[in-house]
Symmetry: D2
Subunit: 153 residues, 4 copies
């Protein structure tokens, strides 16, 4: 396991997750956190579909993006915020199951840029099936002194 710079990373990342209003609206839940790793769950929602009745790729991407960003945040110092530089999502299969598990991991933690990946798996059937995968680079931004995360101010 990677040694986190902030022993209180879990509380900090959970607070940051809670302050993302998009996660609630998109029915995305944080399940568990470890240094450099996060597990989340998405629920398929009737009002978040594309034209063929599958979960919209952008909604799935929102979950994958958050998984990458928060995985990077588990390894940062408390004064650092994360911003996605870019990400790529590859879609292997349309999402037709009710629940999707998303696992985000840091591939290479950096002082300025961290590289992350996130995978989406179908939940519900006998086997876990890989639905989509993100590869992303995340800017690690030093916040000015006196900075307080929105959710704690």
């Amino acid at each position: 396991m990677i040694e986190p710079k902030d022993p209180d990373f879990e509380a900090r990342v959970r607070a940051s997750f809670a302050s993302q209003s998009a996660m609630k609206s998109l029915q995305i839940q944080l399940l568990s956190l470890q240094p450099g790793r996060i597990t989340m769950e998405l629920k398929k929602s009737d009002n978040l579909l594309q034209q063929q009745g599958f979960m919209h790729g952008g909604v799935l991407t929102a979950g994958l993006d958050s998984a990458c960003g928060f995985a990077a945040l588990t390894l940062s110092a408390p004064s650092v915020e994360v911003l996605s530089i870019e990400f790529k999502t590859s879609f292997f299969r349309p999402v037709s199951t009710e629940k999707v598990q998303v696992i985000g991991r840091v591939i290479k933690a950096g002082k300025r840029v961290s590289f992350c990946e996130a995978e989406a798996f179908s939940l519900g059937g006998r086997d876990q099936v890989l639905l989509a995968k993100m590869s992303s680079s995340v800017a690690m931004v030093d916040m000015p002194e006196g900075w307080v995360p929105e959710n704690r101010s």
Copy 2:
């Protein structure tokens, strides 16, 4: 201007857009359509933000993804559906304005794969500022005979 294969492309794409429940939930509107080109508008919504108060990158990506897919659909035959193979979104600036314009274009139309791009611009200030850009590849899928788009069945 590119010659569309389907003279009724506009009605077909508008119907497909209307059948994406995610577009309404994410506050994304279709403004105008031309062969190989689409213009859409996103409204920043308090319940779709990330932890720093900016529009969530995944929500913006949902708009860019739809812009790419529907741009590809303007050039397809009526019996063809589109599915994103993959996309990459690059984030140039955080979205702090109330409205975002999204323009999608087909770069190379193909029988099996079409390549598209979509750009997001801030609206509201004096100048249009480029906020983010997507590069995507879209599978052009021949639907079985007798297939009826969900929204018209």
Copy 3:
């Protein structure tokens, strides 16, 4: 292990690799093949560097791209050729070692599109270090009847 469609996949893929003149020029060797998996080796060459003296990212990418394409080819029918639709390469560390190992894998084999990944590791030190990673989509193209691969004609 995935069951290959072509029991003679190894001879076919090795012949295809041998017919890539770029591999010899770029000092890239094929080490081993399994269904859905390939291992290759790149030698750092004084005439293939970038301005800081590291292996040029494009040269490394040529190895990663070939690893993805040939991994996809191990799982195809003999009448199918592969063409990269797109790839993304993420660079974690500059290449300063003399040798690089490249491992390509099929993540999702498809009839028309296969998704692959390839990783580059430094060789020579005590530990293997991940230098770069590619995520790619590969078009599986049915060749016309009577088609003979260049290298066997």
Copy 4:
């Protein structure tokens, strides 16, 4: 036209290009430079092909990558070096012409990260045809004081 930070950017970028041994080996020439923009030319070479006789995608990518990096370098201060964070190349058509023109542009210049694009066009026929396109992010790295570019030391 964007104002460059370094009035001598052209000499600096040309020297950096000349110090990339890969460019000569891959038959890639620098044609012209403007702030935020570069034009290069690739010659198809019999020893840099893939298995179907087309220019290897990795070789084309080396040209696109250099075009992005050097375009970013035209806008940097003299003490800054560039390193690709990641790039994505989309392949629209195989390269069968003898010459390819590559045009690189900065989309968004940043202090730490610049976003660039590069396009490859076929040369030789009546019309310019877009063959491939790269989207990249480039790290702008402050070099330590006293640093001298390799090629001028």
